[in-house]
């Protein structure tokens, strides 16, 4: 067992947990968190793919892709959270009416 | 010899972290938990920092470790204060987390 196999399995599991959360849970924040877990799991798999036996340096291209992915996921999270806040406000206004 | 001392310091630091975690899990209320966590973790991190500084190669590394310990202690204390403050206000206002 080498680190890449261990963390590859962990990344796969995190991706699966996130996917299940995104489709099976009802709370909006939790669904969003599930998507975020999916993105981290995908990052794990990409970084494991870039890993080489220690004396050799890893492949930098997947690393750059994952950094891009992290920033894109933050942008998506910020937009989704703004939608969640707005929806919540509208529902609260409906309840009062 | 130096690496032995460093290992002992790091091991002692890890033990303090363990004690803090047990306190977090076992103590009955939030203030006791904070008491266990902030003190034990502050001391644990400082001990680990000392051990790592003994192993560090250059003065620059030692200075960085010292700065990390200082800022971690500062933010740990501030976080503990903020959590306790929030909890006390929550008690005063009735039930709000």
């Amino acid at each position: 067992m080498t680190p890449d196999l261990i963390y590859g399995a962990a990344g796969l599991a995190v991706f699966g947990i996130g996917l299940w959360g995104a489709i099976a849970l009802q709370d909006r924040m939790r669904r969003l968190l599930g998507l975020k877990l999916c993105s981290v799991g995908a990052g794990f798999v990409l970084i494991v793919g870039a890993w080489r036996e220690p004396p050799a340096a890893p492949d930098p291209v997947p690393h750059a892709l994952v950094i891009t992915g992290i920033v894109v996921m933050l942008s998506a999270t910020a937009a989704a959270l703004a939608l969640i806040r707005r929806l919540h406000d509208l529902e609260a206004a409906d309840d009062r009416a | 010899m130096i690496s032995m001392v460093a290992m002992v310091l790091i091991g002692a630091g890890a033990l303090f972290f363990l004690a803090g975690t047990i306190g977090l899990l076992r103590f009955p209320d939030l203030h006791c938990q904070l008491h266990a966590l902030t003190k034990a973790d502050g001391l644990g991190l400082t001990l680990i920092g000392l051990g790592a500084a003994l192993l560090a190669g250059s003065v620059g590394d030692i200075a960085r470790i010292a700065l990390i310990c200082a800022f971690a202690a500062l933010s740990g204390a501030t976080c503990g204060h903020l959590i306790a403050r929030h909890a006390r206000r929550g008690d005063a206002e009735g039930r709000d987390v």
């Binding site: 962990a10 968190l33 981290v40 930098p60 950094i67 999270t77 959270l81 703004a82 | -």
Partner: protein, 322 residues
């Protein structure tokens, strides 16, 4: 292979998976966010073990720190709106038919199994693009391969990434137009002192991360996230209050990075080269110029994403809208 490190890897991987599951399943929303932050930091640690320190820095600063701040801010907003004991699903816990639940679980398992087969079927640890990158490194103008890929070899991707960030702030401002702000949390005098003490240090670390990105782990995104942390502290201490008059400056800073990035690409292309084929000897200067301006844009955009609502949406002003 050294045994203790193997044990460490195994424990860390187990902890990452367990905390991911716990974060989704825990009842209290605040505990969910705290567990998510722990999860992100542990993933960053795992990525350090996989020799990806640049990615670990980005995940810790952007994927965990700033995302956690955004989640906490949203939770504060939801709880401030009359729903003091806002509980996940407390509003409408619709029961899910058993068949649908098992279908969801089955579909997830099928996707994960397919992914696992695909990963196991692909050749592991074969040479990818690292040889090509290593050969081109002397031409890139920097010494950190990840920075070289981000700002030279695949600069198109990074340009688009900055555009995505720009799109996000436009979406947030449009969605929250006219919404009321949640009352600002009062954090007390100790927090103020902490912020004043930490602000200059955070500024130094942010600029250092940007500068070190040329030869060591770090770069525009990590540095920008650090500087955005300063923006968050300024907002939370009340040292800076967004004002409608600042909108023009803010918009200028949002697009600054994108415009500079695209302008460099166009100017280089105008001299008869490919868009990101920097002229020999000027690569380092151009990359630092782009990185510096992009860092400012990233920091300001991330701060604005945390603040959310466009500062113009004062109630009186809004009523005049048609």
């Amino acid at each position: 292979m050294s045994e203790p490190l193997f044990l460490f890897d195994l424990l860390l991987a187990l902890a990452v998976v367990a905390i991911a599951a716990a974060a989704l399943l825990v009842r209290d929303a605040f505990a969910m966010i705290v567990l998510f932050v722990v999860f992100g930091l542990l993933s960053a640690l795992a990525w350090v073990r996989l020799a990806a320190p640049d990615v670990a820095l980005a995940e810790a600063a952007i994927g965990t720190g700033l995302t956690g701040a955004l989640l906490l801010k949203t939770l504060h907003h939801l709880r401030a709106r009359g729903m003091a004991g806002w509980e996940p699903g407390a509003a409408a816990p619709r029961p899910v038919p058993r068949a649908v639940a098992s279908l969801n679980a089955g579909l997830t398992l099928a996707v994960v199994a397919g992914l696992g087969v695909a990963i196991l079927g692909s050749p592991l640890r074969v040479t990818g693009l690292e040889i090509a990158v290593a050969e081109a490194m002397p031409l890139s103008g920097v010494d950190n391969p990840v920075t070289a890929v981000l700002l030279n070899f695949r600069a198109y991707d990074t340009l688009m990434e900055v555009v995505v960030l720009l799109a996000a702030i436009i979406v947030v401002w449009q969605v929250e137009r006219g919404a009321d702000a949640a009352p600002a949390p009062s954090l007390g005098p100790i927090w103020q002192g902490f912020a004043r003490l930490t602000l200059p240090a955070a500024a130094i670390v942010g600029v250092y991360l940007l500068w070190a990105g040329a030869e060591a782990p770090g770069g525009a995104f990590q540095g920008g996230a650090m500087l955005a942390a300063i923006g968050l502290m300024l907002l939370l201490t009340g040292l800076y209050r967004p004002h409608p008059d600042h909108r023009a400056t803010a918009r200028l800073l949002f697009v600054l990075g994108t415009v500079a990035f695209a302008a460099v690409a166009l100017l280089v292309a105008g001299a008869g080269r490919a868009s990101f084929e920097y002229p020999q000897g000027h690569a380092k200067t151009l990359i630092l110029l782009i990185e510096g301006l992009v860092t400012i844009s990233i920091a300001v955009t991330l701060t604005a994403l945390f603040h959310g609502r466009e500062p113009a949406a004062l109630k009186g002003e809004l009523r005049h809208d048609p």
